[in-house]
């Protein structure tokens, strides 16, 4: 049970405080309710490029990192399709430095041309390192375009193409900032050796004077129900054939979310999962195979991806996977198998909650979903999942008309 206090400033900034006196450190986490899904389809990759620019100087402070490092702190950030999260860990005695830095870049960036020019290049190198100069690096780009026809999850956070990143203009940067990076579109979480009183005073002092922006009304195009199975062939210079399949699933707040999560764990999460045991060990059709899901806020995808053992044909591999799926749909799962994945989840939650950093991330994320206290209800929701519910969920999701398949062939 993670205890916390919650309050809101007049400008709409939500603030959450979790005290832990066993540590000398504190974490200051600012989550902005903007992700790659909020981008203009002609200007993709922007939320992530923007994350880089947030380190390029704010209106009163030329370099973000330096004063933080001087105060013994370190920081990082990440962008997903749903959100952008910035965090720093710092000795608790120096926490005001983090408030000073984070509030200044929420107030306004410096909008330096040099920073934009350099970060465009840095992100292009990141794009090359992870998505071009890497075997199968383009697989997700292709799969997203195949599975999503309408919803902005059809592009990756890095962007649909290098050109979009290369063409980013300063005016785009400014528009994006003043639209999304406003206090009323953000959640501030402070964890560690701090008191609520102290955080209240610091938040009022540093974030209080920042003006609210126009409320952001998210109105994203929804993905229509898929009625026909889709397939795509790819041939590339990779050593092994790969099979990748996805099925549409519900969103993060869907009532079957927890059942879906456990179901993917039973199917392909680790060394006792069905796919691992049957298709890697017993039948030796795949050399690696996993089943997982997106866990995105809007409806996501259940994924099965695996690399084929040399000499096995794609159709044999595909049939073997689909046979396992049929078993899940048509046979009731033994109770102990469900209990196993619930126990695994309990363990995972406990290990995750060990650090004040993870607690800060989780509190911010669940508050974004609607209520930070959802964090404390997760385990109970998992414990309520039954074999019947998993079977029903499997029958709903694993319909052939709901499936997208990428056959990724080795040229050699």
């Amino acid at each position: 049970m993670i205890q916390f206090d919650k309050f809101e400033l007049d400008n709409g900034l939500k603030v959450i405080v979790h005290q832990d006196t066993s540590t000398p450190m504190a974490v200051v986490n600012v989550l902005y309710n903007v992700g790659a899904k909020d981008e203009d389809p002609q200007k993709t990759g922007f939320a992530h490029l923007f994350e880089h620019l947030m380190f390029g100087g704010s209106i009163h402070i030329p370099i973000y990192d330096e004063p933080l490092q001087r105060a013994g702190g370190e920081n990082n950030a990440y962008t997903t399709n749903d959100l952008t999260n910035y965090y720093c860990q710092i000795p608790a005695e120096n926490i005001e430095t983090a408030f000073w830095l984070e509030s200044d870049r929420m107030l306004s960036l410096a909008f330096s041309e040099k920073s934009l020019e350099v970060q465009r290049k840095v992100v292009c190198e990141e794009f090359k390192e992870h998505y071009i100069n890497k075997p199968y690096g383009d697989a997700w780009h292709k799969m997203r375009t195949l599975a999503y026809t309408n919803h902005p999850y059809r592009w990756m956070t890095i962007g649909a193409s290098l050109e979009h990143v290369e063409q980013a203009k300063m005016q785009d940067v400014k528009d994006f900032f003043f639209k999304f990076y406003r206090p009323n579109n953000a959640i501030l979480v402070v964890t560690g050796n701090v008191t609520t009183e102290q955080v209240k005073q610091l938040a009022e002092k540093w974030f209080g004077p920042i003006a609210a922006g126009a409320p952001y009304e998210r109105n994203l195009p929804m993905e229509p129900v898929q009625h026909k199975s889709r397939f795509q062939d790819v041939r590339a210079d990779v050593p092994l054939d790969m099979l990748m399949m996805t099925w549409h699933m519900g969103g993060r707040l869907d009532e079957n979310y927890h059942a879906t999560d456990l179901m993917t764990d039973v199917i392909g999460g680790g060394a006792t999962s069905r796919l691992y045991e049957q298709l890697i060990k017993v039948k030796q059709i795949f050399s690696s195979i996993d089943c997982y899901h997106f866990g995105t806020i809007d409806p996501g995808l259940v994924v099965i991806e695996g690399k084929l053992v040399k000499g096995i044909t794609m159709s044999v591999a595909e049939k073997a996977v689909l046979d396992e799926i049929e078993l899940i749909k048509n046979t009731m799962m033994p109770t102990h198998e469900v209990q196993k994945v619930i126990n695994k989840t309990e363990s995972l939650i406990c290990f995750e909650d060990m650090s004040i950093m993870n607690r800060a991330h989780s509190l911010a994320y669940y508050e974004l979903l609607g209520d930070a206290n959802l964090m404390n209800q997760e385990l109970e929701k998992y414990q309520k999942v039954t074999p019947e519910l998993i079977q029903q969920t499997a029958q709903q999701i694993f319909q052939d008309t709901n499936r997208n398949t990428l056959y990724y062939y080795s040229k050699s």
């Binding site: 013994g72 370190e74 190198e125 100069n133 540093w206």
Partner: protein
């Protein structure tokens, strides 16, 4: 009063922090296996990290140590691989294993309440593993496939080659496995290695987290009666055979859009008096986001997504390494800038201001690194396995707090000479 946002809040310098490494508890099992523990944390979880002297330094044939470490979880006289995995996973426990140069580990992460359920299985793995033939065959087949995939990656190739240049292909720090090595390993190799280095091997245990009240009894019952620590493990030494040539350029994939750059030189181990002060110099050079390499090559020129320098974590002999992936057309300028930064460190004194920032960053980071029971025991594990005590910890802090620009310049003159570095680009 208006808020002055130009003015940084007052900070307490990390050099004024009183950083302490909390002590471990220690006990010895009936079979003389030493156990180091640190109890703490709010969550009901724990870690048991068993260290065996079974790294690749002890193998006579390439890849035997790693394969034994991996496959000891894939079958015992009583259980199949699936049943073993099930015995851990049912309780949400996770058993990982890793093979290094001197040591190999078996680490159990579990909920405190299930320790008593899973500890007997750990015991079974180190006394009754039986290496089924089919498990070895599947593992070989899948590793050969994975290797073919990794050999497409320039960074994978670069990491292998640079270690080979530094230490030689027959040295534990420099060798790597190819397809043939995977194929050549037999069940007899695994069984023999297991018998000597696990079943009758030398073991040290590190534990952290929240413990069940009968933890010591459980450990003694299940681990303390095994035939461990009976024989003295013979010291093995391997000569370092460094490459004569220093500069390399390798084309792995003609269509590559980036090059993987590695620049490295030998460096002494932790017992050398230069080790601690050079960590400070390394931080200034390329050891963190605000380092000179990062600011110049990423933040000013945009040649790369990231560039780092670090001193390798070896027991006997280390290397000082600079590592980055840069755009194909800017690999050469990237390397020139690296050498330029070395020259500046050799010829100019680091400013007091920059040095103070780095000192604060290093010590603040240390405070954060010691936050939590797993982190504390990990630090102790490193010290104990390297024959160090907490004196090393406090000495390092003193060095960081007191080091002066002149000393850094002297170190740079000694260790940042371009002619000492091996240099490699893989496209």
């Amino acid at each position: 009063m208006a808020l002055d946002r130009q003015m940084a809040p007052v900070i307490k310098d990390a050099i004024d922090f009183d950083i302490k490494l909390k002590p471990y508890q220690h006990f010895v099992l009936d079979n003389q296996v030493e156990v180091y523990t640190y109890e703490g944390g709010a969550e009901p979880v724990m870690l048991m990290d068993m260290v065996f002297f079974a790294g690749n330094s002890y193998e006579d044939k390439n890849w035997v140590a790693a394969a034994t470490n991996f496959l000891l979880k894939n079958g015992t006289t009583k259980k199949s691989a699936f049943e073993i995995n099930e015995a851990f996973e049912f309780y949400g426990a996770h058993l990982s294993r890793n093979c290094y140069n001197e040591t190999a580990t078996i680490a159990l992460h579990c909920l405190t309440k299930y320790f008593k359920e899973v500890i007997p299985v750990v015991s079974e793995l180190i006394s009754e593993a039986n290496f089924p033939e089919k498990e070895l065959q599947i593992y070989q087949q899948n590793l050969i496939q994975r290797l073919s995939l990794n050999l497409k990656k320039s960074d994978f190739i670069a990491n292998r080659f640079i270690d080979e240049y530094l230490f030689g292909i027959d040295h534990p720090y420099g060798k790597y496995a190819m397809q043939e090595d995977y194929k050549n390993v037999t069940l007899a190799d695994l069984t023999a290695f297991y018998d000597t280095y696990y079943k009758h091997g030398k073991c040290i245990i590190f534990m952290a987290g929240k413990f069940p009240s009968d933890m010591q009894e459980l450990l003694n019952k299940h681990i303390g009666q095994l035939p461990l620590n009976k024989k003295v493990i013979a010291n093995v030494t391997h000569p370092i055979v460094s490459a004569a040539q220093k500069q390399y350029s390798v084309v792995n994939d003609a269509s590559s859009v980036q090059g993987s750059i590695r620049i490295a030189r030998h460096f002494p181990n932790r017992h050398h008096p230069d080790f601690a002060p050079t960590q400070v110099l390394n931080n200034i050079f390329g050891g963190f986001f605000g380092s000179r390499l990062m600011r110049n090559i990423r933040e000013d020129k945009g040649y790369t997504y990231g560039i780092h320098s670090y001193i390798q974590n070896h027991v006997q002999q280390c290397a000082w390494m600079i590592s980055t992936d840069a755009g194909k057309d800017v690999c050469k300028p990237t390397m020139e800038e690296v050498y330029k930064e070395m020259k500046i460190l050799r010829e100019e004194l680091v400013s007091e201001d920059e040095l103070k920032l780095v000192k604060n960053y290093v010590l603040g980071g240390l405070l954060g690194d010691l936050d939590g029971p797993f982190q504390i025991i990990a630090r102790w594990k490193t010290y104990i396995l390297n024959d160090l005590t907490d004196a090393y910890f406090y000495n390092t802090i003193d060095v960081v707090k007191s080091i002066q620009p002149e000393q850094l310049k002297t170190l740079a003159e000694q260790y940042l000479k371009p002619e000492d570095f091996y240099e490699l680009v893989v496209y």
